[in-house]
């Protein structure tokens, strides 16, 4: 059980406090309700580029990192298709430094040309390092627009194309900040060994005077129901053929998300998962096979991916895979399988709850979903899932007409 207190400042900033006296540290975590899904189609990659610029100095602070390091703290951030999240980890006695720095960049950035110029280059190198210069690195750049036709999940957080980043201008940066970076669009979680008597005053001191702004309305196009199987085949300079089956599934808040999470673990997480046993061990068609979900807030994807063994063709794999999926749709799981999945989740949860940063990010995520206490209710939801739920889910999702397949052919 993770205890927390929740309140809202007058300017609309939601605050979560989680007191943990067993640690000498505090974490200050700030979630902004903006991600790549909020970008314009011709300016993709912007939420992520912006995350880099948040470290380039703010209205009253020239060097964010240097001030934090002086206080013994460290910081990082990440951007997803849904959110942008920033955190500081700092010795509890220096908590004020973190609040000072994080609140100042919520108030306003410095917007220097140098920072934009350098971070554009850094992000372009990141694009190359992660997506272009790795075997199978561009899979998500290809798979997203195959699976999504309307919803902005059709581009990756890094952006559709390097040119979008190269062309980013200061006026775009300022507009983006003004629209999305305000108290009413943020959730702040302070956790760790803070002084309970003074923490609220400190938060009020640094955040209370920031103009609240208006929470931007989000009107994203709905992804139309897929009605036909889609397939794309591309050639890359890699040494094994690879396949990516993507099925549309429910949004994060739906029970279907939890069922999908369990189902993906059961069929493709480890060596004893169903597809591993059938397609790797018994039929020796693949060198690896995995199943996982994207974890998106809007309607996400359920994926089955893997690599073919030398000499095996895509059609053979395809037949064998659908045969296994049809079996799952009839039989579901054994009780033993379902229980072992739940037991592993309990263990994983107990380990995760030891990490202060982990807890802080999760509390903010659940608050964004509607209630931070979701962090404490999750395990009951998983435990309540029965075989009939799995069967219903598998039958509604694992259908050919709900599937997009990307095939990567190796160079011969």
């Amino acid at each position: 059980m993770i205890e927390f207190e929740r309140y809202t400042l007058k300017n609309g900033l939601k605050v979560l406090l989680h007191h943990d006296k067993t640690t000498p540290m505090v974490v200050v975590n700030t979630l902004y309700d903006v991600g790549a899904r909020d970008e314009l189609e011709d300016k993709t990659g912007f939420a992520h580029l912006f995350e880099h610029l948040m470290f380039g100095g703010s209205l009253h602070v020239k060097d964010f990192d240097q001030e934090l390091q002086k206080a013994g703290g460290e910081s990082n951030a990440f951007t997803s298709n849904d959110i942008t999240n920033y955190y500081e980890i700092i010795p509890a006695i220096n908590i004020e430094t973190a609040l000072w720095l994080e609140s100042d960049r919520m108030l306003s950035l410095a917007f220097t040309d140098k920072s934009l110029e350098v971070q554009r280059s850094v992000v372009i190198e990141e694009f190359k390092q992660r997506y272009l210069n790795q075997p199978y690195g561009d899979v998500w750049l290809e798979l997203r627009p195959l699976a999504y036709l309307k919803h902005p999940y059709r581009w990756a957080t890094i952006g559709k194309d390097i040119s979008h980043i190269e062309e980013a201008e200061m006026s775009d940066v300022k507009k983006f900040f003004k629209k999305f970076y305000c108290p009413s669009n943020a959730i702040l979680c302070v956790s760790g060994n803070f002084d309970s008597g003074t923490i609220k005053d400190l938060i009020e001191k640094y955040y209370g005077t920031i103009p609240g702004g208006k929470k931007p309305a989000r009107l994203l196009p709905m992804e139309p129901t897929q009605e036909e199987f889609r397939e794309k085949s591309i050639q890359r300079d890699v040494s094994a053929d690879a396949f990516y089956y993507a099925f549309h599934m429910s949004e994060r808040k739906n029970i279907g998300y939890y069922i999908a999470d369990l189902l993906s673990d059961a069929i493709g997480k480890d060596q004893s998962s169903l597809l591993n046993i059938a397609l790797k061990k018994e039929q020796t068609l693949v060198s690896e096979i995995n199943a996982f979900i994207t974890g998106s807030l809007d309607h996400g994807l359920f994926l089955i991916t893997g690599k073919l063994l030398e000499g095996v063709d895509f059609a053979t794999l395809d037949n064998a895979l659908w045969r296994e999926l049809e079996k799952i749709k009839v039989e579901g799981f054994t009780d033993r399988k379902l229980n072992s999945l739940k037991n592993k989740l309990s263990t994983a949860k107990a380990f995760q709850e030891q990490g202060l940063l982990n807890k802080s990010i999760s509390l903010c995520m659940f608050e964004l979903l509607g209630d931070a206490n979701g962090i404490n209710e999750e395990i009951q939801i998983y435990n309540g899932i029965e075989n009939t739920d799995v069967l219903n889910f598998a039958n509604s999702i694992l259908k050919r007409e709900n599937c997009s397949l990307l095939k990567i052919n190796k160079t011969k």
């Binding site: 009253h60 430094t97 390092q129 640094y206 094994a240 004893s272 033993r336």
Partner: protein, 417 residues
């Protein structure tokens, strides 16, 4: 409130480093137990003297991948299912100097999960089908990896770093193909059975549970104390591996150093932080935050049993290779020739003290800190000395240590891309 004024910062307080209880299995093999933990989680690490140094790389690595591949009574699937039933996770790590198998579970399940794990390791028979499956997987992964510039550079670096020794060996496809099942059985017999050299347990287990772990592990204890090679010397000079279609070039620069027992270790560790081991380091500030040549650049100092090394690593835009190398060289030169300013040194000191507090947070962290000095016959008192040295070190000492260990002409300089 004037937002321009930074809040007053405070020095972090003293850290009390807690050592685990030591319970001997025999005269040379200890079990370490960190029992003071206020939740249900637990972890058992077991260490075998079955690392890469004990045989051909391909054999040592295939054996470690197949430790849970099945016994004469149980299939691999059944072993994994039994661990899953108990909600347990495991992880197998291989280095030159050992294999560490870690087991994670709730404390009520850990004894039973450990029995399953240990039985699988002791009685591993490496069934032919599992062996062929892992072999095919390894060969395919190898081929895919040989397309990564980072892997190409790292392999070349390892050859130069450990020049002329067993540690310089890197596997090729042909080595992986040639591995035979009987070689695994032999390697297992020689290096796992009678190869156990350490156990570490974190968790509020009952005394009886610990005794049980000892009883069922005892038979595997190693007979002689471990000895590691220490006389390595890297081969300096530049090597470039061309990869036509690459859009970035991987850089690996480094040299042989020493381990924690060396008198220069603490100062070198602080110097390494200044050079490249935090976000505000010289390399990051210059090569990423000023020039934008890379998404990231860093330096580490790493230790093996008898030795250690310095490594600077990055992946830079192909067109920036020479400029990036020049800047790394320049930053090393500056550290050897200009005294660090007080402002920067103070910042590094505060950063390091904050990091010390962070990496000693909680019983798992305390155990890991302890284990990383215990291998060198040292105690957790090492960290008190380290903190004292962070407070005491001055610009002259930084200059001295840089001149001793940061000369460009000593470096192996690898690029691939």
């Amino acid at each position: 409130m004037n937002r321009k004024n930074a809040p007053k910062t405070h020095k972090t307080g003293a850290i009390s480093f807690v050592s685990p209880e030591k319970i001997p299995l025999n005269e040379s093999v200890p079990l370490y137990w960190m029992s003071d933990i206020a939740n249900e989680t637990s972890r058992i690490d077991i260490y075998f003297d079955a690392g890469l140094r004990k045989g051909k790389n391909s054999i040592a690595s295939t054996t470690s991948s197949l430790l849970l591949s099945g016994t004469s009574l149980k299939s691999s699937t059944e072993i994994h299912n039994q661990l899953n039933d108990l909600g347990a996770f495991f992880d197998i790590g291989l280095s030159h100097e050992g294999v560490m198998v870690s087991l994670f579970a709730l404390k009520r399940n850990i004894s039973e999960a450990y029995e399953v794990l240990l039985d699988a390791i002791i009685n591993a028979r490496f069934p032919e089908s599992e062996f062929q499956e892992v072999k095919a997987e390894k060969i395919q992964k190898f081929k895919i990896n040989m397309n990564r510039v980072g892997v190409l550079a790292q392999r070349a670096f390892q050859k130069q770093l450990y020049y002329g020794t067993k540690y310089a060996e890197v596997s090729n496809e042909i080595d992986l193909q040639k591995v035979e099942r009987k070689e695994l059985l032999k390697f297992h017999e020689e290096n796992y059975i009678c190869g156990l050299f350490k156990i570490a347990v974190v968790g509020a287990l009952a005394e009886g549970q610990i005794q049980h772990i000892i009883n069922i592990s005892k038979g595997l204890c190693i007979k002689n104390p471990l000895e590691f090679k220490s006389d390595f010397c890297n081969k300096p000079g530049a090597i470039h591996i061309e990869k036509n279609d690459a859009v970035q070039t991987a850089i690996r620069i480094g040299k042989t150093l020493f381990n924690k027992t060396n008198k220069d270790f603490l100062d070198m560790s602080i110097l390494n932080t200044i050079l490249g081991d935090y976000f505000g380091s010289r390399l990051m500030k210059n090569i990423r935050e000023d020039k934008g040549y890379t998404y990231g650049i860093g330096s580490i100092i790493s230790e093996s049993g008898g030795s250690g090394y310095l490594l600077v690593g990055s992946e830079v835009g192909k067109e920036h290779l020479q400029a990036a190398l020049d800047e790394v060289k320049k930053e090393m030169f500056r550290l050897c020739n200009e005294k660090i300013k007080k402002k920067e040194l103070d910042l590094v000191k505060n950063h390091l003290l904050g990091q010390m507090l962070k990496i000693s947070d909680g019983p798992y962290a305390m155990m890991d800190l302890f284990l990383s000095v215990e291998s060198y016959g040292m105690s957790s008192d090492f960290y008190n000395l380290y903190i004292q040295r962070i407070h005491d070190i001055d610009a002259s000492a930084i200059l001295r240590i840089a001149n001793a260990h940061l000369n460009w002409s000593d470096m192996s300089v690898i690029s691939a891309g």
